[in-house]
């Protein structure tokens, strides 16, 4: 299984998928193969944090993970394919903004790190986000936006969470390449991320 983990970590796509086919045909434990994929993914995340890998590798790793899971899934007998969720997360691009790429990469990374991610999509109404927080009670709410026009809706979400008495129950993370400490303060959120792994690191640091 180390070969699977290494192929994933080294971005050797063809080798990884060939090995997967081979192991499945040989009747190896599909759960063990999937675990090896996840171990490879963890290594990819580490290399990204270390500055050896970049967004391009995260995207490709996500696609390799998907192709692999498609192959493995039919062999998993009804059992849960992953361990228990480490916690629930909601992510959304706020009202007025339709950018989705960064949010979706961050979502994938959190999912692959064991979190249950509810992706509400783009241009999501403030009231809808607050409503979902009320219903799903997530550990973390990730608000994404690339454009400056996203800052006011982000602030409105935080304000409405306060009014609804929900602010203390959820951490709010702002995601977007233009977000900085000025915007964090303006919105009244807990933390901001300009990259795809800060989310995971932050989540893992929470009690």
């Amino acid at each position: 299984m180390e070969k699977i983990t290494a192929a994933m970590a080294d971005m050797l796509e063809d080798e990884l998928l060939d090995l997967t086919d081979k192991y499945l045909a040989e009747g190896k434990d599909p759960k063990a193969i999937l675990d090896a994929y996840q171990a490879g993914m963890t290594e990819v995340g580490k290399r990204y944090e270390a500055g050896e890998y970049f967004v391009s590798e995260l995207i490709l790793a996500g696609e390799m993970m998907n192709s692999g899971s498609e192959k493995i899934k039919p062999f998993l007998k009804g059992g849960s394919e992953s361990g228990p969720s480490k916690g629930r997360v909601i992510i959304a691009t706020v009202e007025g903004d339709i950018h989705d790429i960064g949010k979706n990469i961050a979502g994938t990374m959190m999912e692959l790190s064991g979190y249950e991610v509810h992706n509400l999509g783009e241009d999501v109404k403030i009231s809808k986000i607050v409503e979902e927080v009320k219903t799903l009670k997530p550990k973390l709410l990730g608000l994404s936006g690339l454009l400056t026009l996203a800052y006011d809706p982000m602030k409105a979400v935080v304000d409405q969470l306060k009014e609804a008495g929900l602010r203390d129950q959820v951490k709010v993370l702002l995601g977007g390449s233009q977000i900085d400490e000025h915007i964090l303060k303006y919105v009244g959120a807990d933390v901001f991320a300009n990259d795809a792994m800060t989310n995971v690191t932050y989540l893992n640091s929470l009690p």
């Binding site: 970049f54 391009s56 490709l60 009202e95 400056t148 800052y151 000025h182 915007i183 303006y186």
Partner: protein, 413 residues
């Protein structure tokens, strides 16, 4: 041309700054985007569709703020009617897929699947005409039914025309004629409006636009995800596409600069940000064709004006080292302009970069403090244009005023 001495003075100040000559003061050249619409209290959706109203708002902005270059309301704002008529699917704007106050946004997706690289590489025009147009313009969908024009030698020509007998082409023809008339009308308005601004004393900030070849692949063909996975999955095709696009992007820029008579070409950079790819990949896939494009422009005496979006701190040393000296503007959004200045002296004119986050959420004192640092550390020796990081759009008016006032008072050489 204009006889207004203020025009001459500003134009000299702007161009001298670009070629790193001494000037009387730091020019202020902000990208205003939709700021005048918000500031003067107009309705966004209405203004974006009313050229007369747009022009009135932009005149008010120039009269009130007296910037050193003219800003145009006709970058994207002037062309929504055409996008609407052709049912262009890659752009959304206020009242048209976006809320009334939300200006405009591009829709980026994988428009060219990987198996179509070879078609694009063998004949990009054919690919654009028969595959991309039908995909991105709803009204041009019937173009997909046409045979290739490249096969239109003598005897086969009638069969090419025969394809046009399909009644669907009547609507294609009408749509194209309408779009042509709309474009001609708007371009005419653009020319008249900029003459008016020139007579008021404001020279155009740029007269052409193009993009880095890899950005064309990432923005419009493969999408960012497709382009980024191609770095590893099909690097040869990606490089071939950049090579194919290089002369096209150069011709676009040179011909527009000749028509406008303004030898400054705007090049917004999208996918070179730190973090998207490794430095090695940047130097192999992104930079070589962009640098060739810049050299091609400089050979035609056109100044490349790069809008370096996001943070590109790791890219800038190479970009500054290789730049054709004393010809280029590098407008930094969130990169460290203070560090860049140390490398850019005698090489590149820096532009920027009062952060939009401060302009939007900070106080006039915060703005003055940042401008002070720019004037103290980036302006000395010349080659500096005071600007915002990226467009002003949601900036607080008192902060924009503080930026102008402080720069006028303290930005004197």
């Amino acid at each position: 041309m204009t006889t207004n001495p203020a025009f001459e003075a500003r134009q000299k100040r702007y161009y001298d700054t670009i070629v790193l000559k001494k000037t009387d003061m730091v020019p202020i050249t902000p990208m205003v985007d939709t700021f005048p619409i918000r500031y003067y209290g107009a309705n966004m959706a209405q203004a974006l569709n009313d050229h007369k109203l747009l022009e009135d708002l932009w005149i008010r902005y120039h009269e009130e703020f007296q910037p050193d270059v003219a800003d145009t309301p006709y970058m994207i704002n002037g062309f929504f009617d055409i996008a609407d008529r052709l049912d262009f699917t890659l752009l959304k704007w206020a009242g048209h897929g976006l809320p009334e106050e939300a200006s405009y946004q591009f829709v980026e997706s994988e428009m060219m699947p990987p198996e179509e690289y070879d078609w694009f590489l063998s004949d990009p025009s054919d690919y654009m005409f028969r595959r991309m147009f039908p995909r991105v313009y709803g009204t041009l969908a019937p173009l997909a039914k046409l045979p290739t024009i490249a096969a239109s030698y003598y005897f086969f020509t009638p069969f090419i025309w025969a394809a046009l007998a399909d009644p669907a082409f009547l609507e294609v023809g009408r749509a194209l004629v309408d779009a042509g008339n709309m474009a001609a009308k708007t371009i005419g308005e653009f020319v008249v409006f900029h003459q008016k601004l020139a007579d008021m004393g404001f020279p155009m900030a740029q007269g052409a636009m193009t993009q880095a070849p890899l950005d064309i692949v990432g923005d419009y063909l493969r999408g960012i995800k497709g382009m980024l996975v191609d770095l590893r999955r099909r690097p040869e095709k990606l490089l071939a596409a950049c090579d194919k696009l290089l002369p096209v992007m150069l011709e676009l820029a040179v011909s527009s600069a000749k028509i406008s008579g303004v030898p400054i070409c705007f090049i917004p950079l999208h996918k070179c940000m730190d973090g998207f790819m490794s430095q090695e990949q940047f130097e192999k896939f992104y930079w070589p064709t962009l640098l060739e494009l810049m050299r091609g422009l400089v050979a035609e005496k056109i100044h490349p004006y790069l809008l370096v979006e996001g943070v590109c701190d790791t890219r800038l040393p190479v970009m500054i080292r290789d730049a054709p000296p004393a010809m280029c503007i590098y407008h930094l959004e969130n990169s460290d302009i203070f560090k860049a200045k140390k490398l850019a002296r005698d090489k590149v004119c820096l532009r920027g970069n009062v952060p939009v986050s401060i302009l939007m959420t900070g106080t006039p004192d915060d703005v003055r403090a940042y401008c002070k640092r720019l004037i103290d550390e980036v302006a000395p020796g010349g080659g500096f244009l005071m600007d915002t990081g990226v467009n002003l759009t949601e900036a607080k008016p008192e902060n924009v005023k503080a930026m102008f006032e402080y720069t006028r008072e303290h930005g004197v050489y």
